[in-house]
């Protein structure tokens, strides 16, 4: 009797025991180029409907696409950052289907000769292990227009009275990233997507805003017994946050497991996750499989990227999270955990580096950026780049801490006040008399007076009763309202009490 192979989902709290869940992703990244993919209309979100349009992106007769070179550059960046091979010869295909949001009746996409193939992303999981996710392909395509459904519930198509088309989005450049089915748990999926987004963020090629649709993730999910072929997959569409996506995957995995446990079959279909009910429902059946009739777009000439171009783009790539983490460990001597947290987010990394440069103490800066500063961001629901406490402001506080003007405890209090009042650390310390007494002469005089006034305890200390030191510290602290620099006070007392 052979034992069943171990499930690659084993260890995941959300994949039922005895099953292996397999997930692959199709991620659409809307590029933040100034103009659309094939015309010179601006790429912009939230403008009045149908204002950023021209005959081309409205699909008027006689118009012809001309590739925006910036799209090619951004897509090449993404493909390179995901360790893809860049095709030396790549072409656009037409993907044919009818829908009111598709003005040409076909999407200009890539088919069998995509820009990038065979890449990967190394994903660091919570337990510190690295899980490699294959990247099947990276290709370019143009976005459809946006349908606005009116008269129904929550803008959904079901029950709507009529629909309107906003062509502002039509022709916006997209890069589609397709992963291998290398993900076996919802937690892995979230880690993959988070780290993929962090990577893309460094490239500065997209707003990556899931709610505005500039980052869209579709997941393919299937379940099977370990060691058996993959099951029939469903597609979980268009989640507007990674958290919901993870919850959606959990719900879908549970649903499929229930179906399979009952001995029934999973139907290949698109499912929708409702975060309020926590349930998945069928959106549309893929029963009538689409035949997109892909064929090479005769309006566009093949793109031949020479080595020099690819190397130029590669050389211009910013430092990516993995390399940055290495550098933080090497140059700043940060522990792996700190280096990992700080390097993951582009803005956080920039913030940290600025603070560390000003304070000249990487570990102290790291502790504060990851600690109080991040805590404040989370509590206020802010992104790094929106923080009212800039890196210079935080550095000023840390400088006071480093010089000894403030104790750690006091610095934390000052930070809270900085957030509340918007004042600088120096102003707060000055206005509230919060500075530590770190002036040697002042403390020396106080210490001398105190020791002279208490010859008995002084003698006890000299006899070796260390504890008596606390008596003197307490007296001075009481006198200075706790503002004496503890380290300095300690040193001065020991000196004064010496035999």
């Amino acid at each position: 009797m052979t034992s069943m192979p171990k499930s690659r989902s084993a260890g995941s709290p959300t994949v039922p025991e005895g099953w292996e869940a397999v997930m692959g992703f199709e991620i659409h990244v809307q590029l933040s180029t100034e103009t659309k993919m094939f015309c010179s209309c601006p790429v912009s979100f939230g403008d009045q409907p149908n204002t950023n349009v021209c005959p081309l992106c409205l699909g008027y007769p006689g118009t012809l696409p001309a590739v925006n070179e910036r799209v090619l550059e951004y897509a090449t960046k993404i493909a390179l950052a995901l360790n893809c091979e860049i095709a030396p010869y790549t072409i656009f295909h037409r993907k044919n289907y009818f829908y009111p949001d598709l003005p040409k009746g076909y999407q200009i996409s890539q088919h069998d000769l995509p820009l990038g193939m065979g890449g990967h992303l190394d994903v660091e999981l919570e337990d510190g292990t690295v899980h490699r996710v294959g990247i099947t392909r990276v290709h370019m395509e143009d976005d459809a227009a946006k349908l606005v459904h009116a008269g129904g519930v929550e803008g959904r198509i079901a029950g709507a009275d009529y629909s309107m088309v906003d062509f502002n989005r039509s022709g916006t450049p997209l890069v589609e990233i397709v992963s291998e089915p290398d993900i076996f748990a919802p937690e892995q999926a979230r880690a993959f997507l988070t780290q993929l987004r962090n990577l893309l963020e460094q490239l500065d090629v997209s707003d990556l805003n899931m709610e505005e649709g500039s980052l869209r993730c579709d997941a393919n999910v299937s379940m099977h017994r370990p060691g058996t072929p993959f099951g029939i997959r469903t597609e979980l569409k268009n989640m507007n946050s990674f958290r919901f996506l993870q919850r959606g995957l959990e719900a879908e995995i549970q649903r499929q497991a229930d179906v399979l446990e009952r001995g029934e079959e999973v139907v290949q279909e698109t499912v929708h996750f409702d975060p309020s009910s926590g349930k998945v429902s069928v959106l549309r059946s893929k029963g009538e499989a689409h035949d997109y009739r892909y064929f090479p777009d005769p309006d566009l000439v093949p793109i031949q990227l020479d080595v020099a171009y690819v190397e130029k783009v590669r050389a211009a790539l910013p430092e990516l999270p993995a390399a940055r983490k290495e550098r933080y460990m090497r140059d700043f001597g940060l522990p792996a955990y700190d280096a990992g947290v700080l390097s993951a987010n582009r803005w956080l990394a920039l913030y940290f580096e600025r603070v560390a440069g000003l304070v000249e103490d990487a570990k102290l800066s790291a502790n504060w950026v990851m600690g109080d500063f991040s805590g404040y961001l989370n509590a206020a629901g802010l992104e790094v780049e929106d923080a009212s406490i800039g890196p210079e402001t935080l550095a000023e506080l840390l400088q006071l801490l480093k010089e000894g003007t403030l104790s750690s405890k006091m610095a934390k209090d000052v930070f809270v006040l900085m957030v509340e009042t918007g004042e600088s650390a120096k102003t707060i310390v000055a206005e509230r008399g919060m500075g530590q007494i770190s002036d040697t002469a002042t403390l020396e005089a106080m210490v001398a007076e105190l020791v002279a006034a208490h010859p008995g305890p002084a003698e006890e200390f000299r006899q070796g009763r260390e504890k008596v030191l606390g008596f003197f510290v307490g007296k001075i602290m009481k006198e200075t309202k706790g503002q004496a620099n503890p380290q300095l006070l300690n040193d001065l007392l020991r000196k004064a009490l010496q035999p």
Binding site: P55, P61, L64, R94, Y106, F295, P298, D299, V301
Partner: protein, 547 residues
């Protein structure tokens, strides 16, 4: 024997003012000379052609839309300028195939689905013509979406061949050819996907040229088959065709497949003009770009090697066409050219490959006509699918639907490899065959059409017979080569076209050669009978025996 235009529409009657212009022969170059020399104003010329249209087009039916007001306004703009200010072709009238988008002017592409459609922009060639100051008389009839070889597939009207009103003008640029042949315009633009300029030029006895793929921008040409479509000129003389081509052959960033011509075109037979500014109008060229030098003797073909395509000899063409072609070969040899037989075995499969590729592309190109944004939309549809199917079902004609269905089929999974991929392979073979042929000769020749103009309705019931009208022309599109059709003589009183095919971007050599042949044959300037009411079997018979 032919039913001709009634005699009361005579040229002299519409021209009610002196000096007595010899409008019978009024070419674009002659229009230009009259304007330059102050013998006529643009408004006078424009009115003259508008009057001609008003008279002759009642029977020819070449125009879908006559832009009288706009044309006269444009003419007055030209007339208001001093001779120094005026650009070389400013004020000369022209008419356009209705596949070309004209801002503010209805553009239907011969289809009901675009009835009333007013484009919001000018196609690149239209802009170039407007920039050059040409006066646009109106839009010309065509087979719906350029699908057809007789112009009978127009959703609007049947255009007649001015040489015999019971016959077709050819297609799909039938309106463009008939209007020129009937002297309703000195010249026109058409588009050619498998022969749509050359075949009607042949059937109507005018000059028509499909340039090298990429020579002319397709921006603003309503697409039939994107990898085959090219815009080109139709005119009564080779000189006019050359001048018009030089106006529109410009590289255009809006069309990624456009390249322009490597060198400015020189109008053959006009020594003085050389690299005249008009050849460069609206074009940006580097200082080093000079046209090829004119031949020492523009009437000689000495040193030029012509290959006649073996596969198009014999019974493939009607006897009259064969005789005219043989006569053309003799003329070429008499001018000093050498003629040799060349075999292009793959052209036999070309029509099949052409049909598959063109129809595959059109199935996608015509998907945008969905009733959502412009053009015809079926009303009272219960749902989206019904709106689509009824809009397209009611908006498209039978031939268009046939081609969309075939194109959809050949791109479908399971049929793609056996049809589309095979056709593309065939296309590569055809390209190679032509390359091979051009290693031995400078230019290739064949009859343009296997037959003279056929009778109205004759091929409508038989799509395959209609497709064979493109037998000699469609391989040229598949290979992206330039092809020209010029009047080569007559058979039974009807024009026969001579096709000249050249290597990529050999337009200059082709036009030079065509000019020499034209001068020797002396048939181009004979307008269709409709033009004077005076032409007759005699003139045609003369032409047939031209040495």
């Amino acid at each position: 024997m032919h039913r001709q235009l009634s005699a009361d529409i005579s040229w002299s009657r519409v021209l009610d003012r002196g000096p007595a212009l010899d409008v019978y022969h009024l070419t674009a170059h002659e229009c230009r000379r009259l304007l330059t020399e102050g013998e006529a104003s643009s408004e006078e010329l424009t009115r003259l052609f508008l009057n001609r249209i008003a008279g002759a087009d009642r029977q020819v039916q070449a125009f879908l839309h006559v832009a009288e007001e706009e044309a006269l306004a444009q003419a007055r703009v030209a007339d208001a300028k001093s001779p120094e200010e005026r650009r070389p072709w400013e004020g000369v009238p022209i008419a356009l195939k209705d596949a070309l988008c004209t801002k503010g002017m209805e553009t239907t592409c011969g289809s009901r689905i675009l009835k009333g459609y007013i484009p919001p922009y000018d196609g690149t060639v239209v802009r170039l013509l407007r920039d050059a100051g040409l006066v646009i008389l109106g839009k010309l009839n065509m087979d719906e979406f350029a699908m057809g070889s007789s112009t009978e597939n127009s959703a609007y009207q049947v255009t007649r061949n001015p040489w015999d009103l019971d016959r077709v003008p050819g297609g799909s640029s039938g309106g463009s050819a008939a209007a020129v042949a009937a002297a309703e315009t000195p010249w026109s633009l058409g588009s050619d996907t498998g022969g749509s300029i050359r075949q009607p030029a042949s059937l109507c006895g005018v000059v028509g040229m499909k340039p090298t793929y990429g020579a002319v921008s397709r921006w603003g040409l309503i697409a039939y088959a994107s990898s085959l479509d090219q815009i080109g000129p139709l005119a009564r003389t080779v000189q006019d065709a050359a001048a018009l081509l030089s106006l529109i052959a410009v590289r255009d960033p809006l069309d990624q497949t456009s390249l322009g011509l490597p060198r400015p075109l020189r109008v053959p037979g006009i020594v003085q003009e050389g690299v005249s500014a008009d050849a460069l109008a609206g074009q940006e060229r580097s200082a080093s770009a000079v046209p090829t030098p004119a031949p020492d003797d523009p009437l000689s073909l000495k040193g030029i090697r012509f290959g006649y395509i073996k596969e198009y000899l014999g019974d493939i063409c009607e006897p009259g066409v064969q005789r005219a072609f043989a006569n053309n070969l003799e003329t070429i040899e008499s001018l000093g050219g050498t003629c040799v037989e060349v075999s292009l075995p793959s052209v036999k499969q070309a029509v099949a490959a052409y049909c598959i590729i063109a129809q595959a592309e059109c199935s996608a190109n015509l998907a945008r006509f969905d009733g959502v944004r412009y053009g015809y939309r079926a009303t009272d549809a219960a749902d989206l699918l019904e709106m689509y199917t009824r809009t397209r079902g009611e908006g498209f004609g039978a031939e268009v639907k046939r081609r969309i269905v075939i194109g959809t089929y050949v791109l479908s999974s399971g049929h793609y490899d056996t049809h589309y991929t095979q056709a593309q392979r065939m296309r590569t073979v055809i390209i190679r065959d032509f390359q091979q042929a051009f290693s031995g000769v400078d230019l290739l020749m064949s009859p343009t059409s296997p037959t003279v103009a056929f009778r109205l309705g004759e091929r409508m019931a038989d799509p395959l017979a209609m497709y064979l009208s493109d037998l000699c022309t469609s391989p040229v599109n598949l290979a992206g080569l330039p092809g020209l059709s010029m009047p080569g003589g007559f058979a039974d009183g009807l024009p026969v076209g001579l096709q000249i095919i050249g290597p990529h971007f050999s337009e200059q050599l082709m036009l030079d050669a065509a000019y020499a042949v034209e001068q020797a044959l002396n048939v181009s300037v004979r307008p269709a009978p409709v033009a004077g009411g005076a032409v007759d079997g005699a003139a045609a018979a003369d032409a047939e025996v031209t040495p």
